[in-house]
Protein backbone atom coordinates (compact mmCIF):
# COMPACT_ATOMS: atom_id res chain seq x y z
CA UNK A 1 0.00 0.00 0.00
CA UNK A 2 1.14 3.53 -0.66
CA UNK A 3 1.23 6.33 1.90
CA UNK A 4 -1.73 7.96 0.17
CA UNK A 5 -3.80 4.79 0.35
CA UNK A 6 -2.94 4.22 3.99
CA UNK A 7 -3.71 7.81 5.02
CA UNK A 8 -7.07 7.63 3.31
CA UNK A 9 -7.96 4.68 5.54
CA UNK A 10 -6.56 5.95 8.85
CA UNK A 11 -9.86 7.56 10.02
CA UNK A 12 -11.45 4.09 10.04
CA UNK A 13 -8.26 2.22 11.00
CA UNK A 14 -8.27 3.90 14.42
CA UNK A 15 -11.52 2.03 15.15
CA UNK A 16 -10.12 -1.26 13.85
CA UNK A 17 -13.13 -1.30 11.56
CA UNK A 18 -11.35 -2.42 8.36
CA UNK A 19 -10.60 -5.66 6.59
CA UNK A 20 -7.17 -4.45 5.47
CA UNK A 21 -5.75 -3.80 8.92
CA UNK A 22 -2.89 -6.25 8.35
CA UNK A 23 -1.70 -4.47 5.23
CA UNK A 24 -1.83 -1.12 6.97
CA UNK A 25 0.12 -2.55 9.91
CA UNK A 26 2.85 -3.66 7.55
CA UNK A 27 3.07 -0.21 5.99
CA UNK A 28 3.07 1.55 9.36
CA UNK A 29 5.90 -0.60 10.60
CA UNK A 30 8.18 0.90 7.96
CA UNK A 31 6.76 4.42 7.48
CA UNK A 32 7.45 7.03 10.17
CA UNK A 33 5.38 9.72 8.44
CA UNK A 34 2.21 7.60 8.33
CA UNK A 35 2.83 6.41 11.90
CA UNK A 36 3.01 10.04 12.99
CA UNK A 37 -0.24 10.74 11.15
CA UNK A 38 -1.89 7.80 12.92
CA UNK A 39 -0.68 9.15 16.25
CA UNK A 40 -2.17 12.56 15.37
CA UNK A 41 -5.53 10.89 14.71
CA UNK A 42 -5.38 9.10 18.03
CA UNK A 43 -4.58 12.33 19.88
CA UNK A 44 -7.44 14.05 18.10
CA UNK A 45 -9.92 11.31 19.04
CA UNK A 46 -8.64 11.26 22.61
CA UNK A 47 -9.18 14.99 22.90
CA UNK A 48 -12.65 14.71 21.34
CA UNK A 49 -13.69 12.04 23.83
CA UNK A 50 -12.72 14.36 26.69
CA UNK A 51 -14.78 17.20 25.27
CA UNK A 52 -18.03 15.70 26.56
CA UNK A 53 -17.10 17.05 30.00
CA UNK A 54 -16.47 20.56 28.73
CA UNK A 55 -17.89 22.86 26.12
CA UNK A 56 -19.00 26.35 25.27
CA UNK A 57 -20.29 28.13 28.37
CA UNK A 58 -24.03 28.83 28.42
CA UNK A 59 -25.44 32.32 28.97
CA UNK A 60 -25.60 33.32 32.63
CA UNK A 61 -29.40 33.33 32.67
CA UNK A 62 -29.99 30.06 30.82
CA UNK A 63 -30.33 28.07 34.03
CA UNK A 64 -33.04 30.45 35.30
CA UNK A 65 -34.85 30.29 31.96
CA UNK A 66 -34.90 26.50 31.99
CA UNK A 67 -35.97 26.38 35.63
CA UNK A 68 -38.82 28.71 34.67
CA UNK A 69 -40.10 25.97 32.39
CA UNK A 70 -40.46 23.41 35.18
CA UNK A 71 -44.14 22.41 35.29
CA UNK A 72 -46.06 23.43 38.40
CA UNK A 73 -47.35 20.35 40.22
CA UNK A 74 -51.13 19.76 40.07
CA UNK A 75 -53.26 19.77 43.22
CA UNK A 76 -53.10 15.99 43.35
CA UNK A 77 -49.37 16.18 42.78
CA UNK A 78 -48.95 18.65 45.63
CA UNK A 79 -50.92 16.39 48.00
CA UNK A 80 -48.83 13.40 46.97
CA UNK A 81 -45.64 15.37 47.45
CA UNK A 82 -46.74 16.58 50.88
CA UNK A 83 -47.58 12.99 51.79
CA UNK A 84 -44.15 11.82 50.72
CA UNK A 85 -42.33 14.59 52.54
CA UNK A 86 -44.36 14.38 55.75
CA UNK A 87 -45.91 10.94 56.13
CA UNK A 88 -46.94 11.51 59.78
CA UNK A 89 -48.94 14.59 58.88
CA UNK A 90 -50.43 12.76 55.91
CA UNK A 91 -51.42 9.82 58.13
CA UNK A 92 -53.02 12.22 60.62
CA UNK A 93 -54.92 13.97 57.82
CA UNK A 94 -56.03 10.66 56.36
CA UNK A 95 -57.14 9.55 59.81
CA UNK A 96 -59.07 12.79 60.28
CA UNK A 97 -60.82 12.39 56.95
CA UNK A 98 -61.70 8.77 57.76
CA UNK A 99 -63.06 9.80 61.17
CA UNK A 100 -65.13 12.56 59.60
CA UNK A 101 -66.58 10.18 57.00
CA UNK A 102 -67.32 7.66 59.77
CA UNK A 103 -69.04 10.30 61.86
CA UNK A 104 -71.21 11.46 58.97
CA UNK A 105 -72.18 7.87 58.23
CA UNK A 106 -73.01 7.22 61.88
CA UNK A 107 -75.20 10.32 62.09
CA UNK A 108 -76.94 9.43 58.85
CA UNK A 109 -77.68 5.89 60.02
CA UNK A 110 -78.99 7.24 63.32
CA UNK A 111 -81.30 9.67 61.60
CA UNK A 112 -82.55 6.81 59.42
CA UNK A 113 -83.36 4.73 62.50
CA UNK A 114 -85.13 7.60 64.21
CA UNK A 115 -87.20 8.07 61.07
CA UNK A 116 -88.04 4.35 60.98
CA UNK A 117 -89.10 4.31 64.63
CA UNK A 118 -91.25 7.37 64.16
Amino acid sequence: MTCEEVRALLPAYVDGDLHVVGEIDVHLSTCDACSAELEAYRRMLGELSRMSETGPAPAADLYARVVGLIPAPSLVGRVRLAAFENPALYAAMAGGVAAAVGAVYFLWRRSQRVAELA
Partner: protein, 182 residues
Protein backbone atom coordinates in the same frame (compact mmCIF):
# COMPACT_ATOMS: atom_id res chain seq x y z
CA UNK B 1 -23.75 15.28 33.88
CA UNK B 2 -21.28 18.11 34.15
CA UNK B 3 -21.30 18.60 37.91
CA UNK B 4 -22.45 15.16 38.95
CA UNK B 5 -24.46 12.24 37.80
CA UNK B 6 -28.21 11.86 37.71
CA UNK B 7 -29.28 9.46 40.43
CA UNK B 8 -32.28 7.20 40.52
CA UNK B 9 -33.49 9.05 43.62
CA UNK B 10 -33.32 12.38 41.85
CA UNK B 11 -35.37 11.05 38.95
CA UNK B 12 -37.86 9.58 41.40
CA UNK B 13 -38.21 13.02 43.00
CA UNK B 14 -38.91 14.55 39.60
CA UNK B 15 -41.54 11.94 38.87
CA UNK B 16 -43.26 12.88 42.13
CA UNK B 17 -43.41 16.41 40.75
CA UNK B 18 -40.97 17.85 43.28
CA UNK B 19 -39.87 21.23 41.84
CA UNK B 20 -36.62 21.12 43.85
CA UNK B 21 -35.71 17.79 42.26
CA UNK B 22 -36.38 19.27 38.82
CA UNK B 23 -34.18 22.26 39.65
CA UNK B 24 -31.38 19.97 40.78
CA UNK B 25 -31.74 17.89 37.62
CA UNK B 26 -31.45 21.01 35.50
CA UNK B 27 -28.52 22.31 37.53
CA UNK B 28 -26.40 19.23 37.05
CA UNK B 29 -27.26 18.71 33.38
CA UNK B 30 -27.78 22.03 31.63
CA UNK B 31 -24.15 22.85 30.88
CA UNK B 32 -23.59 19.61 29.01
CA UNK B 33 -26.96 19.83 27.33
CA UNK B 34 -26.07 23.32 26.13
CA UNK B 35 -22.63 22.20 24.94
CA UNK B 36 -24.17 19.40 22.88
CA UNK B 37 -26.83 21.69 21.43
CA UNK B 38 -24.23 24.31 20.55
CA UNK B 39 -22.03 21.74 18.86
CA UNK B 40 -24.97 20.45 16.84
CA UNK B 41 -26.47 23.74 15.66
CA UNK B 42 -23.32 25.86 15.81
CA UNK B 43 -25.00 29.01 17.04
CA UNK B 44 -25.38 30.30 20.59
CA UNK B 45 -28.94 31.61 20.29
CA UNK B 46 -30.25 28.62 18.37
CA UNK B 47 -28.57 26.37 20.93
CA UNK B 48 -30.43 28.16 23.73
CA UNK B 49 -33.72 27.58 21.90
CA UNK B 50 -32.84 23.91 21.49
CA UNK B 51 -31.97 23.60 25.18
CA UNK B 52 -35.26 25.09 26.33
CA UNK B 53 -37.34 23.00 23.95
CA UNK B 54 -35.42 19.85 24.87
CA UNK B 55 -36.02 20.43 28.57
CA UNK B 56 -39.72 20.99 27.95
CA UNK B 57 -39.84 17.67 26.11
CA UNK B 58 -37.88 16.00 28.87
CA UNK B 59 -40.20 17.36 31.60
CA UNK B 60 -43.21 16.02 29.68
CA UNK B 61 -41.64 12.67 28.93
CA UNK B 62 -39.97 11.92 32.23
CA UNK B 63 -42.97 10.04 33.63
CA UNK B 64 -42.59 7.54 30.78
CA UNK B 65 -38.81 7.20 31.07
CA UNK B 66 -38.20 3.72 32.44
CA UNK B 67 -34.45 4.05 33.01
CA UNK B 68 -33.67 1.23 30.60
CA UNK B 69 -30.98 3.56 29.28
CA UNK B 70 -28.95 6.07 31.28
CA UNK B 71 -30.70 9.40 31.73
CA UNK B 72 -27.80 11.17 30.04
CA UNK B 73 -28.15 9.00 26.92
CA UNK B 74 -31.89 9.59 26.81
CA UNK B 75 -31.39 13.34 27.22
CA UNK B 76 -28.75 13.38 24.49
CA UNK B 77 -31.23 11.80 22.13
CA UNK B 78 -33.87 14.38 22.99
CA UNK B 79 -31.38 17.20 22.40
CA UNK B 80 -30.22 15.66 19.13
CA UNK B 81 -33.77 15.21 17.89
CA UNK B 82 -34.72 18.73 18.94
CA UNK B 83 -31.64 20.15 17.22
CA UNK B 84 -32.52 18.33 13.98
CA UNK B 85 -36.06 19.69 14.12
CA UNK B 86 -34.63 23.16 14.67
CA UNK B 87 -32.34 22.80 11.66
CA UNK B 88 -35.27 21.62 9.56
CA UNK B 89 -37.39 24.59 10.61
CA UNK B 90 -34.54 26.96 9.76
CA UNK B 91 -34.11 25.35 6.35
CA UNK B 92 -30.72 23.92 7.22
CA UNK B 93 -31.68 20.27 7.17
CA UNK B 94 -30.47 19.99 3.58
CA UNK B 95 -26.94 20.76 4.59
CA UNK B 96 -27.31 18.33 7.46
CA UNK B 97 -28.25 15.53 5.09
CA UNK B 98 -25.84 16.37 2.32
CA UNK B 99 -23.08 17.53 4.62
CA UNK B 100 -21.57 20.07 2.28
CA UNK B 101 -22.03 23.47 3.89
CA UNK B 102 -19.69 24.58 6.62
CA UNK B 103 -21.14 26.73 9.35
CA UNK B 104 -20.06 30.21 10.15
CA UNK B 105 -16.78 30.01 12.02
CA UNK B 106 -16.87 31.74 15.41
CA UNK B 107 -14.77 34.88 15.44
CA UNK B 108 -11.68 34.23 17.52
CA UNK B 109 -11.40 36.36 20.63
CA UNK B 110 -8.15 37.90 21.77
CA UNK B 111 -7.76 35.30 24.50
CA UNK B 112 -7.60 32.67 21.78
CA UNK B 113 -4.21 33.97 20.74
CA UNK B 114 -3.05 31.62 23.47
CA UNK B 115 -5.61 29.03 22.56
CA UNK B 116 -5.24 25.59 23.99
CA UNK B 117 -5.51 22.49 21.87
CA UNK B 118 -9.13 22.17 22.96
CA UNK B 119 -9.94 25.67 21.79
CA UNK B 120 -8.38 24.81 18.45
CA UNK B 121 -10.46 21.68 18.31
CA UNK B 122 -13.70 23.55 19.10
CA UNK B 123 -12.96 26.03 16.33
CA UNK B 124 -12.09 23.24 13.92
CA UNK B 125 -15.33 21.44 14.81
CA UNK B 126 -17.31 24.57 14.02
CA UNK B 127 -15.79 24.62 10.55
CA UNK B 128 -16.99 21.13 9.67
CA UNK B 129 -20.07 20.86 7.46
CA UNK B 130 -23.13 20.27 9.64
CA UNK B 131 -23.78 16.76 8.41
CA UNK B 132 -20.24 15.69 9.21
CA UNK B 133 -20.03 17.60 12.49
CA UNK B 134 -23.25 16.07 13.80
CA UNK B 135 -22.07 12.53 13.24
CA UNK B 136 -18.59 13.16 14.59
CA UNK B 137 -19.84 14.96 17.70
CA UNK B 138 -22.36 12.24 18.52
CA UNK B 139 -19.89 9.41 17.92
CA UNK B 140 -16.50 10.71 19.00
CA UNK B 141 -17.56 13.16 21.73
CA UNK B 142 -20.77 11.65 23.12
CA UNK B 143 -20.07 8.01 22.27
CA UNK B 144 -23.38 7.15 20.60
CA UNK B 145 -23.18 4.10 18.37
CA UNK B 146 -23.38 4.45 14.60
CA UNK B 147 -26.72 2.65 14.73
CA UNK B 148 -28.14 5.10 17.31
CA UNK B 149 -26.91 8.03 15.25
CA UNK B 150 -28.47 6.57 12.11
CA UNK B 151 -31.77 6.17 13.94
CA UNK B 152 -31.72 9.80 15.06
CA UNK B 153 -30.69 11.26 11.71
CA UNK B 154 -32.72 8.86 9.61
CA UNK B 155 -29.90 7.35 7.57
CA UNK B 156 -28.38 3.88 7.34
CA UNK B 157 -25.64 2.80 9.72
CA UNK B 158 -23.28 2.37 6.77
CA UNK B 159 -23.91 5.96 5.69
CA UNK B 160 -23.11 7.12 9.22
CA UNK B 161 -19.75 5.33 9.03
CA UNK B 162 -18.95 6.92 5.69
CA UNK B 163 -19.81 10.36 7.01
CA UNK B 164 -17.79 9.75 10.17
CA UNK B 165 -14.80 8.75 8.08
CA UNK B 166 -15.04 11.95 6.02
CA UNK B 167 -15.58 14.06 9.13
CA UNK B 168 -12.45 12.76 10.87
CA UNK B 169 -10.39 13.27 7.74
CA UNK B 170 -11.70 16.80 7.26
CA UNK B 171 -11.22 17.68 10.92
CA UNK B 172 -7.64 16.49 10.75
CA UNK B 173 -7.07 18.67 7.67
CA UNK B 174 -8.61 21.71 9.35
CA UNK B 175 -6.43 21.20 12.42
CA UNK B 176 -3.37 21.00 10.22
CA UNK B 177 -4.38 24.23 8.48
CA UNK B 178 -4.93 25.92 11.85
CA UNK B 179 -1.63 24.66 13.11
CA UNK B 180 -3.32 22.89 16.06
CA UNK B 181 -2.27 19.29 16.52
CA UNK B 182 -4.33 17.58 19.22
Amino acid sequence: MSDGSVSHELLAGCRRGDPRAFEELVRITYRRVYALAHRLVGDRYEAEDVVQEAYLRMFRGLAGFREEARFETWMHRIVTNTAFNQLKRRGRFGSLVEGDEPLEVPVPESSELRATERDELERALARLPEGQRTVLVLKDVYDLSCREIGDEIGIEEGAVKVRLHRARKRLREILSEQGGEP
